[in-house]
Structures are given as structure tokens and as C-alpha cells.
Symmetry: C2
Subunit: 297 residues, 2 copies
């Protein structure tokens, strides 16, 4: 079992003499797209409040991108995984611990950080409004929950030789108390006979630091995709919720209206009914449900 390498060393000897080379290494950051859902101001006391999808942004207090808004995140430290770094950042920024956390994508474009070589391993977190106090305790000026909209502006398809290029142009809008930023993100699919590649690129970017508009777009695409075939959206719901509320959350994620009857059939297996009802709503009460943990598909 003690194989010798070209220099006649055993693995143990090799590791003892091993010195990390002088190769340049990147810094790796874990950046988080933290989603939650809030109620908009109600138009009338009898109407149901609309839901808003929000993400947490932090205002940068130093260079680079001083004064711009960035995703919460930080460098991964030795002796922790990227997941642990993400969970640590999340805890530091929101005080929240037990949430849905999913790795999204590792961004490594050169020059994405003007300081030095930095890759970003991005994560998506879903938390419900029960879990956060929306105004972060310490310093509200430097952290805010931005309302998100993400909408397909334009779609082009161009045939090139033996393939095509399809460009989908999305408008990402982030707004919070007077502040409003707009970014335009292109998702470009290049299809050739033997290959297909998808690339995100930033066409326009206001107010956001680094390439974070791209990370946000990527997170929303993932969220939209998964909403349809998993119970992921339930992580955005409080412990008890009505089916109408759940439908509202699906609708703001997908940016599309859904039919009530079909929706209720579809999510039927994802939820468990309780004996509780809403009260004093100005109209017929609604049964409360919770996430079904018995039957997961």
C-alpha cells in the first residue's frame, strides 16, 4: 500500500515535504442572494395586501464601489466550506440560521473585482417574514430590503451558419424607499450542431456593485425554474398561510397570473391543512395551511 512516486517518496513523505506552490491563487467570496416576501401597503382595509419579492442589499462603505449597493457576502476563510461561509454571512447580516440555502453558480470573470483576483461562489437563501425583522437592527442606512422585478424586455433570435444565437434581454428593477436601480441583463444562448452555451452579460447597470446584477438575475432564473417542480416556494411562507397567499407568492416569483382552481390542485400535495382560519379579514375567512413534510416529491 506504500506506493512510491518518481522521487521515491511514499504518500506520507510526499505530503510532509509538500509546500503549497508559488502559484497565484484567487480569493473566493461567498455572496448571497437572500429572498423574502413582504406585504405591500394595502389599498383598502378590506382588500388583501399584495406580496412583494425582496432581496437584501448592503451599501458599500469602502472602495471599490463606495456607496453602491452590493449583495451580502464575504471571503471564504480557511477551514470552512463555501456553504459554511454563506451560512455565516447570512447569520451575521440577518441573524437568521435555519433557512433554505442553495449554491447557484461560481462567477470568475477576470476583472470582476478591480482589486484582485476574486471568484464569487453565489448562494440563494429563502427566508420568510416570520424569521426576519425587516429593518435590520444595527444600521438601517447600510442595509435594505429591495423590491425586485425581473421582466423579459426583448427576445431576439438570429440564425448564424449552422446554428443560432438567441438573446433574451431582461430588465432587473430594485427599489427601496425612494431608491430605484435598473439593470439590464442579457442571457445569450449560442447553439451550434455539437455545442450549446449560455452566457449572462450586463448591458446596463446602475447603483449595483461588481457583477452583482448578474448574480441576482441568475438567482431569479433558478428560483423561477424550481418553483414549478419543487416545494421551494414554501420556504418563503410563514408557518401558517392561506392558499391564496401561497398563490400570490408563486405569482410574484413567476411574474404571471395563475388560475385559482388549477393552482390549488397543483400544490395540494405540498401543503397540509390545519383547523385554523384567518379572522377579521372583512370577508370570508380562509383556511390556514402549513408545509407538508410527510410527502415530498
Amino acid at each position: 500500500m506504500d506506493l512510491l512516486d518518481r522521487d521515491g517518496l511514499t504518500e506520507r513523505e510526499f505530503l510532509e515535504q509538500y509546500r503549497a506552490g508559488d502559484y497565484e491563487r484567487p480569493s473566493v467570496a461567498a455572496d448571497m442572494v437572500i429572498f423574502t416576501v413582504t406585504n405591500a401597503e394595502a389599498d383598502s382595509y378590506r382588500k388583501l395586501p399584495e406580496k412583494e419579492l425582496r432581496i437584501l442589499l448592503i451599501r458599500r462603505g469602502g472602495h471599490p464601489f463606495l456607496g453602491k449597493w452590493a449583495l451580502p457576502g464575504g471571503f471564504v476563510r480557511p477551514n470552512e466550506t463555501t456553504e459554511q461561509a454563506a451560512a455565516r454571512e447570512l447569520r451575521e447580516e440577518t441573524g437568521v440560521d435555519d433557512v433554505y440555502l442553495e449554491q447557484l453558480y461560481t462567477f470568475s470573470d477576470i476583472g470582476r473585482d478591480p482589486r484582485t483576483w476574486v471568484m464569487s461562489c453565489s448562494y440563494m437563501a429563502l427566508i420568510n417574514s416570520d424569521q426576519v425583522q425587516l429593518k435590520a437592527g444595527d444600521d438601517a442606512a447600510d442595509a435594505a430590503w429591495f423590491k425586485v422585478t425581473y421582466r423579459l424586455l426583448r427576445e431576439r433570435k438570429e440564425l448564424i451558419g449552422d446554428g443560432y444565437v438567441k438573446t433574451m434581454e431582461y430588465e432587473l428593477k430594485l427599489s427601496s424607499e425612494g431608491k430605484e436601480f435598473t439593470a439590464v441583463v442579457n442571457r445569450t444562448v449560442t447553439a451550434k450542431p455539437t455545442s450549446t452555451s449560455t452566457v449572462y452579460s450586463l448591458v446596463r447597470n446602475e447603483g449595483l456593485a461588481f457583477d452583482h446584477a448578474k448574480l441576482i438575475a441568475c438567482a431569479i432564473d433558478r428560483l423561477r425554474g424550481k418553483v414549478n417542480y419543487t416545494d421551494i416556494a414554501l420556504h418563503l411562507m410563514p408557518k401558517f398561510f392561506t392558499l391564496t397567499e401561497l398563490q400570490q407568492v408563486y405569482e410574484i416569483i413567476l411574474d404571471k397570473e395563475l388560475l385559482k382552481a388549477a393552482f390549488r390542485r397543483k400544490v395540494g400535495d405540498l401543503v397540509t391543512e390545519t383547523d385554523q382560519y384567518t379572522e377579521n379579514a372583512g370577508h370570508r375567512p380562509s383556511r390556514l395551511y402549513r408545509r407538508n413534510l410527510e410527502e415530498y416529491r
Copy 2:
């Protein structure tokens, strides 16, 4: 536009004086799970050959894991992205350039490389047998295409408090010319009221270096998922193919038999029929198709 930071520096001044800190940084490798499909030896000259799903492994010539088999890969260099590193490795190992390439997941478990702190940004590549000469040119002893099978062995579900833990135990078998390795990979889903997390872990591992069995399992899971709702499998097909061949490829990926009629309806939009037919097959000829690049869904 020239904001000053706490030290009174502009962004330009800040960047000029910036020195990459003394923080420890990880090495980042791009590791590739390269899939292709080959024909098995035919039982009889009249019967259709079965298809085999294969991945490329390289025998390690140095410590650590000397003599074990590993995924092709290497460290990401400064001034290249992880995608570029992956494409470079792919070109170096297979000579192939224009292929389907998709980032999978970034693995960062501490101690996953006994030498030093190394993260692996893993990629999946799909190439068709037209593109590769299966015996790599230079040194066939150190590179081989291993047949892959990946099968659910056991599924357990345990209720814990207000949630559950579901463990799916998969057997990963890799074989090539007498060599055969078996690994057992667990995919564990832990569901609690407000969170759900999925973790891969290695239960048993023979012959494979590092945590590469995990990366392979992750790649197969992704491939299986995407086969059902994209045209990804077409990247494994040669330029011209029959629908039966395509069905065989779906079946080995999914490890499940499909119904002919339903399959043909389903992939109808993904392919374009040609005027060509197979010849001299010992039975009725079959129409040849190619990937449809007009209508992509």
C-alpha cells in the same frame, strides 16, 4: 463622481495603493466529468448494439492518490475563468473543442485535497463518439473511458421531530477493460419546517482519487434531471442518428426503459428528419435524424 473613503482616498487612489492581503487563499481547480456514448459489442450481427455511457478518467502519476483514477482537471490560472480552464483541460485531454459544457457545483469540503486548500469547480461536458478517438493518442495506459452505471440501491426516510431525513443510497460502478470500481454515494435530504438541505457524502470509495466519486454522482444527477426537459442528450449523438439510437441514449442515462411511441412523440420537436436511411442492418432500415436547431424549447 470622485467619492472619498474613510482614508480620504478616491477609488483610483485606493486601487493603486491596494495590496492583496495576507489572507490565505484557496487553490481552485476545474474538474471535468466528460460523458460520451459508445456501442457495446454486438451479441449477434443482426441485433442492434447496446449503448454505453462512459466518462474519461486519468490515472494519477504522482502523489496524492498515486495510481488511483481521477477526473481530468487542473488548477485555474490567473487571467482565465473557470470555464476557460475547463475548456483548456478538455482540449488538452481529448483534443475536442466545440462541445456542450456546463458548470455543475463548487466543492469545498475541508481536507478534500490532502496537500493544501483546494476547491473544485466542477463541469460536465458532453461529446459524441464522432468527436473523440476513444483511445487517447499519447498514453493510453493513463487515460481510459470508463463505463458508468449509477443505480439507486436503497431509500430510507426517517421522521425526526418536526421534519424528516431522507437518504438515497446510490451505487456508482465504473468499469474499463478489467478494471472495475464501485463507490457508494449517499444523497441526504434534511427537511425541517423552514429549511431543506441536500448533502452528498461518500460511503464507500474504491480506486477513485479525491472526492471525485461525488462529483461524478452529482454530474449524473444533473444529466438525468436535464434529459427530461431539454435537448441536452442530443449533444451525445453523432451528426446523424436514428430515433432508436436516441432512445437508447435516453434509456442508459435514465437507467429505465421507455415506450417507443411516447418517446417518439416527445422528442419529435427536438430533431429534424433527413432523407437518409441506415443500410445493411439485417432488418428494416431506419430513417436518420439530426438535431433540430430551429425550434429549441
